[in-house]
Amino acid sequence: MATAATIAEREHYLNKEYGIRSWLLTTDHKRIALLYLVSITFFFFIGGFFALLIRLELLTPAGDLVQADTYNKLFTMHGMVMIFFFLIPSIPAVLGNFLVPMMIGAKDLAFPRINLLSWYLYIISGIMMLHCIVTGGVDTGWTFYTPFSTAFANTKVIEAGLSIFVAGFSSILTGLNFVVTIHRMRAPGMTWSRLPLFIWAHYATSIIQLLGTPVLAVTLVLVVCERLLGLGIFDPNRGGDPLLFQHLFWFYSHPAVYIMILPSMGVVAEIVPCFSRKRIFGYHAVALSSIAIAVFGFLVWAHHMFVAGISLYSAMIFSILSYLVAVPSAIKVFNWTATMYKGSITFSTPMLYAFGFIGLFTMGGLTGLFLACLGIDVHVTDTYFVVAHFHYIMVGGAVMGYLGGMHFWWPKISGRLYPEWLGKFAALIVFLGFNLTFFPQFILGYLGMPRRYWQYPPEFQVLNVMSTAGSTILAVGYVLPMVYFLWSMRYGKIADENPWGAAGLEWKTASPPPTFNFEETPEVTWEAYNYDQIPAPAEVLVEQ
């Protein structure tokens, strides 16, 4: 067993330089990943705090904990912070940043300085958002629907809009960096069909970031101009059409859901083969389904608008297209499950998160079929059914994948192991807390409780109490990993190069990796997920 002393002797990306400057001016993708990790964790807990206040308010039918305006600001800022400052950057900017160059055998991303710039843009927009929050907040809902946001809300719409505009550019630059890196920086022998599925998922994600985000940006510019100058582009009193805003907004914001979920799918596609000791089932199907999701994801946006006043015919087109995007998602679930068949499965913490992801994403995806279905959508849209559905995808799916990935690659990032039993315990708590929080909301939705309600009829109370109870359990489940990750940085067992016996180039370099990732440029001569050639670690075997 290596001691703490030996790890300090070897130079790696963490101990190469010290001091604030060495972090704030770094162009090392691994250090930038850690900068992102710290910043998104901060925003995750801010957004989570808002969520807890929302759940506490909804404990009773009356609006008694906070004022109506405060409540409206809480759910607005919960949405904005969680979506733009946690979920969208979460896996790409932290794990993607850390792993994309390593997985393809590169020394860094193609544009290290642009990578740093994108973190600074994120921080600038984050500071704008924080400033907006502490100086009064915004109450339009994260969706900025016009004409409420342009002509009626008297909160800080402009500042919030500009903040998200800047965050959008951060996201675009990250995506651009990934696409160029994946095209240009692959090590010799790393052909497209040898790429890890994590890379495929990030490639698909980046396409969405590149082609979707600018539409949101320009839409927000128009909203800001309209609010400042009263142009009338989205104002029906001046001949504008508020539905045009919704079209442009959802053109980005529906695919944005795939920005959040695709990277998680990539993580799961790494974890499941590793802890099944098997090559992934249907490599090409899983890889291409990522691309299919990215493309089809752009064809379905108006399923958010079935009752908004779009034409009947348009609604039918968007409904049928929405079902198309469900197919590649289903393909992925089937393939992950099939990967376990005849495997040799260990129940490590990352694998538990992967199980959780498969279960919750399946439920989130299947309830998506309800919402794509015109006849049902009319009743359940804008109710808690939708709230439950997208939390199953974004929290049950995306956050589960993020946590699974963090546990899986934590030994690589920090060079330390976290306490396995605590990891499993936290995974269990998250799973239980999540279901208790959000499952009752499906029922609430079908009963007809509209979303964004500060007070509600008393017959909805029991289900709301269950949901609030679940949210406190969920909160514990989220704090735990942060605590033991921090603890493990000093006291955790030293991790060797490849503690899970995982395939992939990132496991062929030291933990933590040296600054340029590899001592010498690797040459790839094997297929991805070659688990028949990698011995499983003995330690894990004993545990079973």
Partner: protein, 233 residues
Amino acid sequence: MSNSPIAVEQHGPELRHHFSTVEQQRDSASLGMWLFLATEIMFFGGMFCAYLIYRLNYYNEFAAGSRSLNLKWGTINTIVLICSSLTVALSVRAAQMGKRKLVVILLILTLIFGLAFLGIKGIEWYDKYKEHHIPGASFNVDDLVREYPQIHIDQSHEQIYFSLYFAMTGLHALHMIIGVGIFSYLLFHAWKGRYTTTYYTPVEIGGLYWHFVDIVWIYLFPLLYLIDRKPLG
């Protein structure tokens, strides 16, 4: 696509540490710029979408607004931008051949054309300001109603045309200003002789950006100025 770059050690001063070869670095920069331009297409695309919808709905007002623009200045500006694109293309060529002086001259010409474009745009905007055609409190189109009695003009729909006109040309002008900044940077480094026959990537990708901005204008010109120039019957 699948030919992975092979590591060949061939360090020049401009090769950054994480690239293996100069080609890899240049191809990366070029792909990065193309992807950025794809992003830009969607950025303008949101406005084109708004334009399309409202032009279909409020054709009369779009026609009248388009007539009120100065066709002479619009055409001259199009020509100015096309000339600037030529000088940019020639400057990339000169950089490829390592003709430092020619590069400098062509970049200066480009900047002059770029600034001329912005100047003319400024004149047009100022005219619109004088005519009270800038959306906002003082917006007024009574002059258009008088001038084109054959066209039914609704003031608020006319304001949507001018909102889109200013948003689109404003965004384009912003890109021109950024372009002028980029080309000043290129000029400075070309002057210093940083670009050689083996390293002229910045000129090349700066040129791509400039041409893109030109292309946007190539579409904006007919879409904004030429909606309806037929003799009124």
